[in-house]
Amino acid sequence: MIKVQNLVKTYGQIEAVRDISFDVQQGEIFAFLGPNGAGKTTTIKMLTTLLRPTSGTVEIDGLDASKHQNEVRKRFGIVFQDPSLDDELTAWENMDIHGALYGVPRKLRHERTDMLLKLFELADRRDSFVKTFSGGMRRRLEIARGLLHTPKILFLDEPTLGLDPQTRNQLWTHVQKLNQEERVTVFLTTHYMEEADRVAQRIAVIDHGKIVAQGTSAELKQRTDTETLEQAFLALTGSSIREEGAEANRDLRNMARMWRKN
């Protein structure tokens, strides 16, 4: 379903993704694990046509992602790591725009919006502006929106960051249901190893832009001679702490600039 070959992305001096290759089968739940700044988000951006690779190829459902961008976009849904809601609109309006852009018929889109807002406990705030939402509520809305249409592939970039255990459980239960009932292929990244262990059928570990290991959770544990996926992860990527993703810093800088200018 996803076929990546020799994918490279460099930003000037920074080599964010260095020659990675992997395949994700149809109907599979595939976890992409790695420390901060490993290159997970950059990879997802290239898989989802937001970023052109420096070199290498991405095939989504048999289509070259750099040539058939529009066709490729019809095949996936995504929950971004960074905010992507319109603050000036209500929760319901954000859902509605999404549904319209993805061609979900009006009636179905309203039904599903109601169902998902209920599922992620936003139903009583459906007509509030997103700018009045807390971080957790925004996150829940991003997830609800990402699940509004049923794509062939679902990308989830650290979807559970900053969520309480109840919501995390809710999300993964729903994702597993989609995977089993609708055969949705899932590509996810997370920092919570027990989540990856629970839902993912196959795992790739990426560090410094390179894939250092691939396999099932059991295989990774066996390879590193460890008991838990967390230990296996540390064995593979070392235990030194990585700097906070540069992305966060860049956003902060941009915000600061923005306010100074206005």
Partner: protein, 247 residues
Amino acid sequence: MTTIYILWLRQLKRYVRSRTRIVASLGQPLLYLLGLGFGFSPVFEKAGQGSYIQFLAPGVIAMTVLFSSIFSGIELIFDRQFGFLKEMLVAPVPRLLIMVGRTLGGATVSIIQGLMVTVVCVIAGFRPSLSSLPAALLFLALIAIVFTAMGTAIASVLSDFQGFQLVMNFLVMPIFFLSGALFPLKNLPKAMEILATLDPLSYGVDGLRSVLIGASHFGVATDFAVLSVLSVVFMAIGAKLFSRIQL
């Protein structure tokens, strides 16, 4: 079609909800109208040019549409910063349609602003011919489309607000001052005349003036033709640059 409509509607909703923007954007035209209008009126009339308020009002209306449109286009940078741009760019619809919807929404907002300022001008003593309103609306729309598309094109290549001040000072303000919004284009120094001829807004101001008060420099047909062509050109450039955005 749904794509264009839904993004058009989004721009309109955002506008209607930002009361400060509505009020603030009326302040500047009012200042020009009252300050310049009444200040220069005696000189202008003594020079045998007729009423300055009559002359200035179409210029101030065009200015409103110019600023509002550029801002609507540049607002794309907000979408980038706040992240909504990602949501638009992964949507399974041609980016061209997204750009068109956004631009038409921004242009509609500008037209509304232009109409509100027209009312303010009338209150201040401006007397346009009423039968000219449909034609004036057409010119407002053309100016709005040209400059919203221009703003979108610019915002597509800027990733933050750093370049914004540059754009304002070296592009938008000159477009305004050289357009003949404030003074007649007759008998200008040669260099100025050439610049004014190259300035898209000149044709907008002139078009409005010709339909609202019956005075024209280029001729209303020329104004209409030039603006129509520029609308298409800037929409095409904007769409091209928008489609190329990477995050």
